[in-house]
Symmetry: C2
Subunit: 406 residues, 2 copies
Amino acid sequence: MLTHPVAKGPLPDRFRALWDEITPIGRDEDSGGYLRYALTEPELRLREWFRQQADARGLPVTEDGNGNLFAWWGHRDAGNAVLTGSHFDSVPHGGAYDGPLGIVSAFLAIDELRAADVTPDRPVVVAAFVEEEGARFGVPCLGSRLLTGALDVGRAAALRDPHGVSFAEALGDRPTGAVPELLGRLGSFVELHVEQGRVLVDRDAPVAVASAIWPHGRWRFDFTGEGNHAGTTRMADRRDPMLTYAFTVLAANKEARLRDAHATVGRVAVEPNATNAIPSRVTGWLDARAAEPETLTGLVEAVHGKVTERARRDGTVVTMTEESVTPLVAFDGGLAGRLAGLLAVPVLPTGAGHDAGVLAAHVPTAMLFVRNPTGVSHSPAESATDIDCAAGVTALATVLEELACR
Amino acid sequence: MLTHPVAKGPLPDRFRALWDEITPIGRDEDSGGYLRYALTEPELRLREWFRQQADARGLPVTEDGNGNLFAWWGHRDAGNAVLTGSHFDSVPHGGAYDGPLGIVSAFLAIDELRAADVTPDRPVVVAAFVEEEGARFGVPCLGSRLLTGALDVGRAAALRDPHGVSFAEALGDRPTGAVPELLGRLGSFVELHVEQGRVLVDRDAPVAVASAIWPHGRWRFDFTGEGNHAGTTRMADRRDPMLTYAFTVLAANKEARLRDAHATVGRVAVEPNATNAIPSRVTGWLDARAAEPETLTGLVEAVHGKVTERARRDGTVVTMTEESVTPLVAFDGGLAGRLAGLLAVPVLPTGAGHDAGVLAAHVPTAMLFVRNPTGVSHSPAESATDIDCAAGVTALATVLEELACR
């Protein structure tokens, strides 16, 4: 039962061997990116792989009724468990590392500790959270939000994917929601993740510890005008919502740069979206993030004000709807400082949401980042070298030992 | 055989009665617009209605092997036939009048002439051209281009709709292409069409004669950048093609206004089109039109130049592809003047392409416009009053009598 893979050979080679077991799963041959939507065939194969890996290591797997999986090293009834892991699901045509790296690194870190004859005093638990990206059902961190009670069970059950399948149908049952007995047994959570920027490239460091997740949100802008013929309508007679949309894209960019914040309009829908028709309606989604909540609020208000003024000139109507706002997550300062000192690595904030941001409200939480040479993520160009991934495993093993044995 | 509807009662009422036979066909209940794509079920029902109307009037129907239908009043072998009619197909969620008004008016004009005991010396032919809008197979005026030999038969046969159905499959056979024996028998073509602007509203006139169709074209702009995470990528590290796209929309608008031309970007495609992803690629389509060819060329060159400069600043790459350009169509000046004098109505140019623009290269061609109170077209808001439509029928009957009897 407790036979498990023996850690032999250089760690970067062992990382690559394990990594290559999953690289073909859900890969789109044309883009080179991944289509690993939660609870679809590729992600279900990855979950099956998770069970096989846990089984090979003699780690019993439990489920929380919300789609999240947990593999336990050490007795499940013991308290102060050290949770690690990440998620398998991807954005459309996303990269290989965002999510799976945290799970693969967790299994390898356990192998490292066992090879060093470390026996944890507290359980070490590898998690695979469901629907972290929100790419299938529209709500990011769906699994961790359910587990922690941050999301209403009825609302989660009724979320539908683009094919009309509800989350409850995909899960096979209504989700359980908050699991206090599991949460109460956790002493800490450490999520390892590929870096989604170039800070570690600039700093020439393979690994870092996270300090905070920027507050961030999504705002939908609906621009309504008058659909009309592109060839025959005089420019002065037009009420073209595409103009107001285009202004919004540029205004959001400018206002974000002025504030050292981030603003992106990466999604648009147009009616009727025909070459020879002035659109009747354009919808754009603003993703905005900033280091401080007041900067974020100021950014969104400035964009809204300028766009409203522009709409008057265009003869269009704009309405802004806040779809989601996630407040600043400051990770446990004591824990981050302790781990950064232990590992002798930099501490840096991130603009990306993570399950760690959700768990942080309930349990001391930390994140480790592994250098990404391209700085690119949510894209097939996302990458990490085997050597840096091995450094990530070593760092994670060090952290797990610290938290589970000291 | 030659029994036919007797023209009784006020013409606006007779227009409405015939018009209401087709208003439900292909209407989308949500938008109020029409989905009458060529050779799909609603358009096939309209073609069947065309045959019934022709039959009720004792007008034999012929086909040209390209999907175009012709109903003949008078002997088919006689020369100098007077062609009239228009098309049934619509843009997505288009209006009721664009196309069908020309066909309904043609049948009613024949009724008027018969009620007045007019017997034409030359055949009067009602046409229903296929795929005028290009909304299904992507090439506008497909039927008239095939008939006149302006489009390669192999290319037309292979055009595919968004479901992968080819034009040849939809037609049931490979199209015939040019039909010289039919073209040679035509003496003139008069297409009646709803106005697609507000000039007749401004001029307080129900009907006008067309002088010309502006040169116009479609240019595709492909913007390539670097897909990346919206939350974590520093603004300075981005290569966001949505910015260059947005600049293009505003630049095209400005350059068109400076030249009294028309420019529209009404269609866009984004990859991956996700709220939290900087796009890797954005494609926009520019529709541009101007009174003179050199103005059109200058407009497109100015937009391209400014966009190329902006792309350098955005770190993106832009390529412009000319998808189609239709030169200036000057309708037969003698014919336009003669008809305008006969009807005592204004003469005006249009920015819209029509089958009349294609036929004009082969046969003296004219167009009649009927006032559109909203000025809006290619939209559910397109309209015309029954009284103005009756004025259009009267004008068309006058013109047909002039051309077929004088």
